[in-house]
Point group: D3
Chain length 333, copies 6
């Protein structure tokens, strides 16, 4: 009986320590994360009960992934353990002109292989929010089906459904295109996060060349009337250590936007989109206005850049300080 | 027979390594420091003989604290070992919007508990300078008494007395308010460092709303005529990795000020106030002018931000380069 | 049969980890490098077969140095092992006002002591490029002779000869001055890299006070007609974490220059001159124009600042992105 | 609704890494443990639902302690957060003639200070086993009362009650002696673990000089008829790296004993008594015979010596292999 | 033109540091190895030119694997880079009753997937020895074919062929049984290493219940007359930190055996079989007698237990000291 | 005014971490030590005021060496700083059949080069004991002279003089043989430590083939009547992790001997001879009997094997426990 439920793969993250390149690392830092689970972790730390649903291998790595999620106070009761391998990603942090780099090694994972028979009626009992991302239907037909089943049950129960449509070209390897799978899933969702390019790649909706974000949202809404809210975060990347980030929320023909935050230096940018989504869910579950919501969410994304690992480890008050322009970095005693 | 003598608690510092948050740290870096001892350490490295007076527990931690002070060339002959625990502080470094954070665990320490019977006549024999801070009288009545005794002997012997009045609200737990204890101590001191807010909290002197620093100094001097010099450092904090720092020296109705230094990036800001004080003492003992003094002191504080640990580890020439705007960061071979 | 051949000492580099000062380090990071070998390493990683020629001691350190060079795909077949010690340098990274610092411990090394009888006819068979630096003739008379022999054979075979004339005052300890040794070596070289000050110190050519770089080049060329190309990189150092770098190429009475790159933050600036030289050689061996050459070379030097260690570890495409102003630091998946 | 419930303090463990002495450590490894929580952790990993009850401070350390317990699958729902500090212990591992050493810094902890109002009716609902140790009543009067309340409710509900009576002289600092507090608690318990010396120190029962363990047990049983089972583990310590361990179970006038296991080398002996207790509880909840129980429990204690940290991290099958003399150390693939 | 050529997969090894269990590791140590490449590495360090043939992925991990092999002086010119992933194994070291544990994650690797078209005529030109193991035909049909092709060319060229027939049940996943594939490969080999159980599982030859090793060898030789030498190493495992190892060499109806070495403590037992094989090849290429050969080879295997990583890093003289019972562990200066 | 004064070189020790071989180390652990300073460090920790006399380079390494000695409570007031390099030794720990290995890099050090004009009258004022070793006269003629001067002053002042005659063949590189230098130094000493082989190599006294230690001592005494006490420690080395050690004390025609201690496992054997000498000095300064002295000294040497670094870090009570066979390795709380 968790308020928030997410579905998605959890990966072992092996990152080159400090400023080392992947080819220079003589050890790798170990952590676990995944776009959807990262959101559950942040929410659970903020007092929103959160369950994550996934499939993990029956070995020490799968066991450690579960322990990691539990340490973030995530309800792991619905996680299945199966044959197959642990998905892995190798991470090199970026510095100045050197981009951060992810090397995926996630094919053939337990999550991709498993029939994924989850009892969504039980899992979603009492839930207020269900979240999925475009990564799951990209992984395998079975994963896409699990996602579709979850959305259908959520919809029937009146659970709000959000999606990060997140187009990752390299992941679509099982013979389907995003436009084969995502439209059906999006058509049952309430809120989607994505850039205009994602809309084109995942939903097949091409906006005119100079369309504004609002115009793109209108186009989507015409085709997917269930979607009431569109979210986007725009990152301006000067170099790997200096970026800007601004959040946008479109609802009811109105565009709300956060401050365009300057971010420098950057400790770890992985998971900042997930932090933004966690901020959205948190604010909405606390009945905040669209403006408050997008401000808090963008601040969460900004704060994530200062925290190592996939997960936003931060108090609500720390995020609010950023949202309210009070994060002056003074020593706290 | 040290030229400089300081009194104050020494803490075990346990800091989360690198950019880790305290809740993420699987190991902690170990070092030792304390506001007053940090000053002695810097001075000793610059050739000023320096003794530090404190009480440390009779266990391995106390023993290691002594060894650490000795490694900085501090005379530890007057340190007492007693029952009670080692005061500890846990440190998380800050990055960008994430503030650095100190979690204190220093109550019930050997320093707070002990009767603190020091033989100040012997300790201060031949000394030129005695330094105390507002932390000591905040810790316990016994500590406040020790401080008072030391100041009295110093005054009698013509030893110059400085204080960092350093208001830390959370430390005053034994039933006294700063204004109960500090005025008597300040009334016997020659130089104090503090911001107008410290003056209000510690000495009970409220300046008018828009009073300048000079006006505040005048108010204090009227009440505490022994105090001939007032020092303040003003930090402008843009975020945890970008700050500015400027030093002020008020004496004889004249205000001297350093350059307002830009500091970015920041390795470790702990102890920068102590570095400034060390710079003051060093310059004064070398008979520098007020302008030279505050310039060198502010440069010492700025340099400290680039050095890990509580203690300013730097050569005089490195500080002078900053004071003279010659610290261009060129590779030294 | 390597396309590129370099001659020079390889040092054990022991660097204080992270932001620690040398006096604070309880461990040292181990790597191996040397101005000339760093160039060979970068070239080999870019597909240019490269051999490095040196003398290393007959102990575990010499053996590990060879293994390190081999791991960079350098041909080590011509390296000699001899009595004598391993040259060492201790490195402290810089931060903001704190300069990076190198403590050399390289006297009496196997490279300096050895008679250095290399069979240059064999070593340079089939080569296109030979590189030496001003460090080698500074180390010992024997080393200077080896350098002279190599240049003579290279010249005879039509191998292009470049030199980084790199004046390091502290290294000239065996009784000769740079102007005793370098003119003869430069007089047989095709391309030299150096600043006007190096030209004065090493070649004894004093330019008039406000001479431009082009004018200095002209002066040199009059005296050393074999030298057709002059290269210089100009570093503007704001502080240890923020610098600028611009490359210059003078040939045929024409000056070509790269963009003046802003570099902040800086991971490791050691070897950036070597990276620039590697970029020059790579571009020239690929028949690039002077403008393309200096742009690529400066970009290589800039990229080096983001990579730990002496050696530029980077793909050609990563350098090109910097040269073409496309290194926006976006996450690569 | 956990099958197993334990009550007791959780400490931050800071251990000197590798073979370093505490005075040599420049970093400390961080983990969390406590005699009673260690048992819950092992049981939870073996599929016995387990809740741990404690009080932890309202700061980052308390938060990380909860996360650690959760990562071991312990139900932390009944843990209270309060003012006060985190209890700490510093650990130095032993080697050969050098003993392992614990420096406690646990006074004034949140657990000791708090009124500890736990709702035992709810906590113990559905439980089969409650465990306490002699450490809790040693810490403070409030802690002793909490322990008494828990035992009373457990007894009323028919929950089996075990205790490790564990005499630690240094902990009894609040004015009571063990014999003031423990007899009442033991008189309501079903099973106690302790050596004859603990029986004397904690229960005030002096056995005749050469009494056997069975005779001591008989004496205790006469005075505390509720106690049906007595357990003891006997360690023969050759040196810090070579020890022997044998378990004893006395019930119904019959003594059962495990093999006397040889243990060499030793990775970490902390928590081996807790591992033994976990083995007892696991076996009893699976209705094993006394002989099987003590054999499995001793094997668990032996295995613990090979695992770093306070907690026995091991599969049931790994323990069974030790119990059945099949732990030959062959490589498992 | 290497004297020794090996074929086989190279894996990324990620090992839990120190005594940590896999589930406890917050970082993993990185190295690279593989049964056949480990042999090439040891031989190359002993002055036998050695090439290793394999397929590695076109990513940073594959690139680092090549660099690692090169650092061991292995000729990597014939290594192919292809699509597919890097095979990985996770390693937990054992201690006392806790066995070392390997978790494989090697399916779908570039080595398994690739058509593996190697030009064996060129690769084996001038070679004296070719080595393969039972792992390669277990991985995929393509890998088995590559192995068969290599053996055929080697045989034709008079290159000696050895095999470690190494039965690993879990690896045979592509539909073939060892007895489908190995007999043909063994029938073209000169020397095989394996235990009687391997002979049964891989070659389908069941010896009578109490057959001696010599009798088993005779049975094999009858069926595979090309095989002139049989080698076996017998490990007696007391526990994970104390084992014994003895080598056996059967040739010409005569059994030669090494001393039965006691090994305690054990640093890293991975690769000890490969070290033994390297010792065999080295001794045979130096025309040693069977007795000298098996003594040196067993000593190499014993020494490997004291060296971290997959590869035997040791001088010939260090191995000879063990073989001659002179490895007393005295400090070498 | 220190009770104990020692003279000798201090080296930077760079050791491969954990079980890594020197060729495998990617970092080196940093510490400082030297045979004579190690003795001063142990004595200072036991409450004997101790000064160490040496020459260290004027760079960061020399400065850190001084800080290290100070952290051990050694009086460093008489240490000179000069030109020249820091002597270094690289250390690889041994395991089982793999011997520990030291690679010296100590030629051309500041200690060897410097004229070494120490004011021995002042340094030895009030001293009770002066110690030198055979390493110092081996390093350079200047060092031998400094040693001779110190001994002469000590003798004149009635300070007891001990020497560890410690023959290290590789160090004698300046044209003198031990027998040229040592006899004169020994002829002014009171106590020497050394094995019969050292006596032969250093003093030129060949004992008959099967002479007992007592007979060798008699031979020496005949030639060097000032020497009243001869000490020797006999190490039986089974392998690098298992050794035995026994101490011998010959005085007044009587041989006293310690228990023959079994040592397994071994953490770090460097400095165990120095620990033995420290134990001798401590016991003699406390007027212990020869039997007590050699027992305590051997126990100190044994304990050293369990402590990382050059220096015996241990309490007197820990050594006494070993001497009295009470070091059972039980957990100390």
């Amino acid at each position: 009986m968790s308020m928030f439920v997410s579905l998605g793969e959890v990966l072992l993250r092996l990152s080159a320590p400090g400023a080392a390149r992947l080819t220079q690392a003589t050890s790798m830092d170990v952590s676990y994360g995944g776009s959807e689970a990262n959101i559950a972790a942040a929410l659970a730390s903020w007092g929103i009960s959160a369950a994550h649903v996934t499939v993990l291998p029956k070995n020490e790595l799968g066991q450690t992934a579960v322990a990691s999620l539990r340490s973030f106070s995530i309800d792991t009761a619905h996680i299945q353990r199966a044959e197959g391998r642990m998905g892995i990603y190798f991470l090199e942090h970026g510095h100045h002109v050197r981009s951060p780099k992810v090397v995926y090694d996630r094919y053939h994972s337990a999550f991709a292989l498993d029939p994924l028979q989850f009892d969504w009626e039980t899992i979603l009992a009492g839930a207020k929010w269900f979240h999925w991302s475009g990564i799951t239907p990209a992984i395998s037909a079975a994963a896409a089906t699990a996602c579709k089943n979850a959305i259908a049950v959520a919809r029937r129960k009146g659970v709000r459904v959000s999606a990060d449509i997140n187009y990752r070209r390299v992941l679509w390897q099982y013979g389907k295109k995003p436009t084969d799978m995502l439209p059906e899933l999006v058509s049952q969702s309430d809120m989607i996060m994505g850039a205009p390019a994602d809309v084109e790649n995942c939903l097949g909706i091409s906006a005119p060349p100079r369309a504004t974000f609002a115009e793109v949202c209108e186009l989507v809404q015409r085709q997917f009337p269930s979607v009431r809210v569109f979210v986007n975060s725009v990152r301006t990347s000067h170099h790997a250590s200096h970026q800007q980030l601004q959040g946008f929320w479109y609802e009811n023909k109105t565009l709300f936007q956060s401050k365009n935050h300057d971010i420098e230096p950057i400790v770890d940018r992985i998971g900042s989109g997930d932090a933004l989504m966690a901020g959205l869910v948190y604010s909405q579950l606390h009945h905040k206005s669209p403006q408050e919501t997008i401000s808090f969410a963008a601040a969460a994304a900004v704060f994530k850049h200062s925290v190592p690992g996939d997960v936003l480890v931060a108090d609500v008050s720390e995020i609010e300080a950023v949202a309210n322009d009070q994060a002056t970095g003074k020593l706290l005693r």
